[in-house]
Every structure is written in structure tokens, then in C-alpha cells.
Symmetry: C2
Subunit: 162 residues, 2 copies
DNA sequence: TATTGTTATACTCTATAACTATA
DNA sequence: TATAGTTATAGAGTATAACAATA
């Protein structure tokens, strides 16, 4: 399940066309909405060289100092090898440090550097503002409703069984 | 903006972790929901060698006989070259035919074959059923509300200016 | 045995740029 | 000039499999 690239794509609704079953599929409606929100994300992070997985990784490390690479991968829904490359990227840019983990000598404990903390704050503020701007097409009540409904359907089959 | 691969990924919510700003971002909630719906899509199309772009392309061609490759690309939000490879794939499997376009001799008119029509019907029924099953975590009123809210935020900046 | 991090490799989807035929 | 289709190339993101160190 690859993540989206930097390029701002757009799904244009062509009025003359029939969309058939696509008009009633929650999955397709989600994709259209996500493309629009990715546009907002792109504007918010322009010039920062940030992608959605990088954003998520930085926020998670910032809020969970000492987290391991494997756990980070689980949160992002990617394999260990991918999490590692993501961490490499953050380390190369001086935003994250790998420190020894006292409890498990196999694992690294990930921590934001001071530079990383500054960057994460700036990035979060910018993304949050653009997300709100895009979502300003909704009232705040509608926004809460949307978050609630999305949360309800975000359950995987595995979790439902558990 | 690459599409998702076949592998059913999963974003696991780790209860011990702080999610910080991710909990209030519409964009992140959309991504989680989309991952769950992709799981449903995967189950629905297991063994069919179908991906979301292939599904969308087949449905659109089926509902819009004679459509050109470029228009198809616009609907999917991908470049012409990508639309072409998608059409190659459908043609190789005997689902779609490229016919000469009477109005514009540069373009192809795309049409489903009889085999393609049968396949599309089967595929649509299966995907719709799984989408409903996943969305059955919602009442039908909630489902309509969700579709409406998603539609509201699916407007790109370009469209808003227009 | 199972798990963490690592490395190497391969695959999918998409973009870009250049070419041709037609508009 | 601009657009439709084509071709070739490159890049991002992810998966898988295997290995060493540790649990």
C-alpha cells in the first residue's frame, strides 16, 4: 500500500460522464476526499520536503520519545525495512536520534533532536491550519460528525474479530 | 500519487501511544478509513487481479462507451501515459477494445467487450457487497451523511476558484 | 524459537519528456 | 500551436527474504 507522492494530483469530476456504482461506494468517496486533503497537505508542507508518512513518523516520535522502529512501522502500517529508511531520512536531516534502548539491546530508542522539535512544531501548525481551511467547507459540528463516522468504519476485519 | 498495492496493509492503533495532532486531522482519519476500506476491496476482488485504478477504469469505460484514454486519465487523476498502460492491461485481457473514434482521428474510443461486460458486472456486485459490509458498521442514515460530508470536502482549490 | 534492525532485491504505480499524427 | 496516443526512463514507496545480534 504505497503512499502518495509529492505531486498534487487531482481527480476532476467530468459532468458529462456516468459514474455508475462509484457514486455510492464509500471507498471511492474516501479516495476523492483524500486527494483533496492531500492537496491541502502539499500546500501546507511546500518547501519542507515532507510526505504524509514522514509527517506521521515525526509526530509519533515527537509524542512518544523512545519508541522503537518496529513499533513506528506498526503505527504507519509499513514493514520494518520501510520504517528503517524513514528513520534514516529523519536522522540524516538531524531531526531524530537513535539512542540505545535500556530495556532491549536489540532495539533503538528514537528521540527528536532540538532541531527536530522545532521543525515538528512548525510543521504541525502549518498542516493543522491547512486541514482546517480545507475542512472549513464544513461547520465544526459537521467536522466532528465526520471524524466520528470515519472512526467507526476504520475498524479492520482483524480488529472486529478481536 | 501512487495507488495502493495488492497487499492488505493495516494501521494498528497502539493504545499505549500518544497520537497528538493526528487525532484531530481530517486527513489522517481519512487515511485510516481508507486503509480499512482497501481491506474490504481486497477481499471483494481476491483472485480477480484487480486494483482500485483498474476497477475504476473498467466501471467508467462500462458506463461511458467511446470514452478516450485522455478523459479516462482525467477521471482517474493520472497522466496519459498511465492511462494508456491501464488500457493496455484491459485490452490484453480481452475486456476492452480500442475502436477508431469518428470525431477525432487522433483518439481511440474505448468499449467493453462482451467478456468485459460480464466481468464488470461480477466485479461491481462483489465490491459493492463488501463496501456495504464494511459500511454496515454505520446505519444507512449515517452512511448517507458520510457520503455527503465527504463530497463537501472533496472540492479541490482549483474547483473552488472556478 | 521469536524478534530487532539491517541489507539487498524486486515490484507497482506514477511522472516527465520527447516523438508522431492529427486538430 | 495544441492535443491524443505512444515510448522510454526514472523515481517514490513498499514488500519479501535472508542474516546477525539479542530476547
Amino acid at each position: 500500500m504505497p503512499h502518495r507522492s509529492r505531486t498534487t494530483a487531482s481527480i476532476v469530476r467530468v459532468p458529462e460522464l456516468e459514474y455508475d456504482v462509484l457514486d455510492v461506494l464509500i471507498g471511492y468517496a474516501l479516495r476523492r476526499a483524500q486527494v483533496a486533503l492531500y492537496g491541502a497537505f502539499d500546500r501546507a508542507t511546500r518547501g519542507m520536503d515532507i510526505t504524509p508518512p514522514r509527517f506521521t513518523a515525526l509526530v509519533i516520535v515527537g509524542a512518544n520519545a523512545g519508541i522503537s522502529q518496529s513499533t513506528l512501522g506498526t503505527v504507519l502500517g509499513i514493514a520494518r525495512s520501510g520504517a528503517m529508511m524513514l528513520v534514516d531520512w529523519m536522522v540524516e536531516r538531524g531531526m531524530v536520534e537513535r539512542r540505545n534502548c535500556p530495556r532491549d539491546r536489540r532495539a533503538w530508542g528514537l528521540h527528536l533532536t532540538v532541531r527536530g522539535e522545532r521543525f515538528v512544531e512548525k510543521m504541525k501548525a502549518s498542516v493543522l491550519a491547512e486541514d482546517r481551511r480545507q475542512a472549513s467547507l464544513l461547520s465544526s459540528a459537521e467536522r466532528r460528525t465526520l471524524l466520528g463516522l470515519l472512526d467507526k468504519i476504520s475498524v479492520t476485519k482483524k480488529e472486529r474479530r478481536a
